[in-house]
């Protein structure tokens, strides 16, 4: 069997694309493939990662213009076929704008760009993105965003809760999901959600920035590992 390939979409303004490439390339048997926003060819990749950054300068709204780029039409198609798509930070914003995930991300509650280490807890380990985590495990993963305040109408939140689609929540060091551990005002401390079908996940924290001990934490590593294991059929 050939290498598993992970497509990393590069928009003008992406700035975590190479960090993500670095993290992906550190896994044995996994090959990162950079996908330029203006292309239509997904080059047969096995999964797709929309990296963090400021696609199209965050003009209009974060992710709003990236959502209509040529490559995104293919990514949407790819996702609708049930293939794995991961959106990190700006990538999460693009997934929401494209309608692959429900809700929206507005300006942080305290008006500030937040660049700091946060702790999040894993609320659902039965997804292809989280199978290598333990239920309610506390992870140390940094955030870096200005628009990370998750919002959705009450009926959507209810649906997300009902189908266990809230995968990551901001918590304190002990794993308590409390208002004090909410950095940006997100409803229900939501840090990451998955679609109903279970193949599209978006989160604000940056797992690629917590993918080796040298960076202060390697808690993000198992997110990538879970995806690659799932593709390789190692459950």
């Amino acid at each position: 069997m050939g290498a598993i390939t992970a497509g990393i979409v590069v928009f003008p303004g992406s700035n975590c694309d190479h960090d993500t490439e670095h993290a992906v390339a550190s896994f044995r048997g996994i090959r990162p493939v950079m996908l330029w926003h203006n292309e239509h060819d997904l080059q047969g990749v096995d999964c797709i990662i929309l990296p963090g950054g400021f696609s199209y300068g965050d003009y209009l709204r974060s992710g709003a213009i990236a959502r209509f780029s040529p490559i995104m039409q293919e990514v949407i198609e790819f996702a609708r076929k049930g293939r794995p798509v991961l959106g990190i930070c700006n990538g999460f914003q693009v997934l929401l704008e494209s309608g692959l995930l429900e809700g929206a991300l507005s300006r942080n509650r305290d008006k500030k760009f937040i660049c700091s280490r946060t702790t999040i807890t894993v609320s659902n380990t039965s997804t292809l993105f989280t199978s290598r985590y333990r239920q309610d495990e506390v992870l140390s993963i940094p955030v870096a965003h200005g628009d990370g305040n998750y919002f959705a109408p009450p009926e959507v939140i209810e649906r997300l809760e009902e189908h266990n689609q809230i995968v990551f929540r901001y918590c304190d060091a002990e794993g308590n999901v409390v208002p004090e551990s909410n950095p940006n005002g997100s409803l229900h401390n939501i840090a990451g959600i998955i679609n109903r079908e279970g193949n599209v996940l978006g989160l604000m924290p940056h797992p690629e920035r917590a993918s080796e001990k040298l960076l202060g934490s390697d808690d993000g590593r198992r997110l990538f590992e879970s995806v690659f294991d799932s593709i390789a059929g190692r459950q």
């Binding site: 209009l60 929206a104 300006r107 509650r109 005002g185």
Partner: protein, 84 residues
């Protein structure tokens, strides 16, 4: 004759408008005690090369829903005027 669309995109009332809040506080600090609130939105001008008003209106609604606003958290309104 083409149409000029003057489009306003505003955050829904249920969404916390942090920029508006900051401006509101600044105005109060300046001594404008009668200022109750301030909200910040976006103003966009689009010129549409259509001769039929109804068609220009249709396009305007479509682009507002598709790209210019995010219906999850924003409302939009527009005025159309014919340009001579």
């Amino acid at each position: 004759m083409p149409y000029n669309a003057k489009i306003k995109v505003t955050l829904r009332q249920s969404i916390l408008d942090v920029q508006g809040k900051a401006v509101e506080h600044a105005l109060k600090n300046l001594g404008y005690g009668t200022v109750d609130s301030a909200r910040i939105g976006k103003y966009i001008e689009v010129s549409i090369n259509e001769t039929e008003r109804v068609e220009a209106e249709r396009i305007c609604n479509e682009i507002c829903q598709k790209l210019l606003s995010n219906p999850v958290m924003e409302n939009y309104a527009f005025e159309l005027e014919q340009v001579n």
